[in-house]
């Protein structure tokens, strides 16, 4: 690990001021320290925000929930309101990493964790994200875990978070603070697609820190998180689906579906949901929705299997969400 100046923020404004001067934010450290050990990230200054008072989970006036940026993945998954009102979020969190990691990992850090692309981690390989303009070793290399939607000729990295996928289905918003002031954006707009600048991953400006995530009131309908991975526990998603579906008289009246493992950001496509609304719940509707989702999907050899896998995962999620319970 390269040497760095370590300081502790004494408040969110202080963290933002230090970040504006170029310091890298350290929250739980489970992603940042990993990357610093490998020198994939080598900040000259680190500002530790882990002791800031951003650990509350509080109801909002309109019946939603405000989640502090430093709420741990454990505390969020365990929260009674989340477990009963937003079970898709609890499930997504519990499907990720391990208890040891979730005890450290924070809400803000989880959203901003970097890709697990093997070439991004390998400082000897070409990678436009780590070293802009150097090329992308993944295009012809081992791209099994990488994107089939939303990628570009410059980068096909996937965003690895499970939590963010559930939050996207829940229409979460993200509160930001910088020396210029505060603003709130949709989580949908936080991450950007790689295009020809894969090193730019979010709309955050220098000095902007995440202070909280806001969930709107829990939507009607059933919620589920289906995650497909290489082993039964402790693995990143190959494909995941966060779904919230309401049915009346056998027909789908509301649908929110977000996808992990497929794209550089938690993926949501309004046309997929439109294909479901008004349809009788069943395999035909699921096939039609999968057709829409995967119309532009593009494999790169090693990850071709994700396209049929995404179809099957979507079908399974919709079955779980619409089948009569015994």
């Amino acid at each position: 690990m390269r040497p760095f100046d370590y300081s502790r923020a004494d408040g969110a404004p202080d963290a933002a001021a230090k970040a504006a001067q170029g310091a890298t934010i350290l929250a739980g450290g489970t992603n940042l320290l990993d990357l610093m050990k490998l020198e994939v990230m080598a900040p000259e200054a680190v500002v530790d925000i882990s002791r800031l008072d951003l650990t509350g989970i509080t109801p909002t006036e309109d019946g939603g929930l405000r989640i502090g940026a430093l709420v741990t993945n454990t505390d969020l998954a365990n929260d009674r309101t989340v477990r009963t009102q937003y079970p898709v979020l609890s499930r997504a969190l519990l499907s990720g990493a391990t208890v040891q990691l979730r005890n450290k990992a924070t809400t803000g850090g989880n959203l901003l964790q970097r890709t697990r692309c093997p070439y991004f981690y390998d400082t000897g390989a070409a990678c436009n994200k780590r070293d802009p303009g150097s090329g992308c070793a993944a295009m012809t290399g081992c791209n099994r875990i990488l994107a089939v939607l939303g990628g570009s000729d410059h980068c096909i990295a996937t965003h690895p978070s499970d939590m963010a996928v559930a939050m996207r289905a829940l229409r979460a918003r993200v509160a930001l603070e910088s020396p210029e002031g505060t603003r709130e954006i949709a989580l949908a707009d936080l991450h950007v697609l790689p295009g020809d600048t894969p090193e730019v991953e979010t709309v955050l400006q220098p000095g902007e820190v995440i202070t909280s995530v806001i969930l709107p009131p829990a939507p009607p309908g059933r919620q589920a998180y289906v995650k497909i991975r290489d082993r039964a526990s402790y693995a990143f998603a190959l494909v995941s689906v966060a779904g919230i579906v309401a049915i009346e008289d056998g027909r789908i009246t509301e649908a929110a579906l977000a996808f992990g493992g497929l794209a550089p950001k938690p993926w949501r496509d309004p046309e997929v949901e439109a294909a479901l609304i008004g349809q009788p719940a069943g395999p035909a509707a699921a096939e039609a929705a999968a057709d829409v989702l995967l119309a532009d999907a593009k494999g790169h050899g090693g990850n071709d299997f994700k396209i049929p896998l995404a179809r099957r995962t979507l079908k399974r999620a919709l079955r779980e969400l619409t089948e009569a319970t015994s």
Partner: protein, 175 residues
């Protein structure tokens, strides 16, 4: 930089390079080598210990971030002549082969038993609004952050299961 850690009940001041992980602080600066370094990247669980009662991977934590915290390591659970129930069960059930992952397994199991008692759900918990019970399936999921290269898993589960049962019957007897 100067930081203070309370390790197994003993307060110590340390002068560390900011890069020092909690794991290296214990092993290299406090000569507490019970906590093991496997991968050094948060993947294997050999470095598991408790911070303020919660289990974490100490290889992915800066010591500086834990200034003032209470740390419990395998050395704090028991001694060879006075082992904790989990330590004794690992010996009795042969819950290891080479033993390298064992301190992490035991620290993780200690935390897991408390988490289940506090009602933490896991990915395999059927109903999120109910309190979980520690079935074998739950145990496998909750211990999945502790890899065993020797694959002693069946006996690790046996050892932990024995302690789960013994503690449960002790609580019942007390009630």
């Amino acid at each position: 930089m100067i930081i203070t850690l309370t390790v197994n009940g003993r307060r110590t001041e340390l002068d560390l390079d900011p890069r020092t992980t909690l794991l290296d602080a214990l092993r290299h600066h406090l000569a507490l080598t019970g906590t093991k370094k496997g991968c050094d990247h948060g993947q294997c669980g050999a470095c598991t210990l408790l911070v303020n009662g919660r289990r974490i991977n100490s290889c992915l934590a800066l010591a500086a971030s834990h200034d003032g915290d209470e740390i419990t390591t395998i050395e704090g659970l028991g001694k060879p002549e006075a082992m904790s129930d989990l330590q004794a069960a690992f010996v009795q059930h042969d819950g290891y082969q080479c033993g390298y992952c064992t301190p992490g397994q035991i620290m993780s199991a200690e935390a897991m038993l408390a988490e289940v008692a506090e009602g933490w759900p896991s990915y395999v918990t059927r109903a999120l609004d109910d309190d979980p019970t520690l079935t074998d399936e739950e145990m496998a999921e909750r211990m999945s952050g502790n890899l065993c290269r020797c694959s002693a898993y069946p006996r690790i589960r046996q050892a932990i299961g024995a302690v789960r049962d013994a503690r449960a019957s002790r609580t019942e007897a007390a009630e």
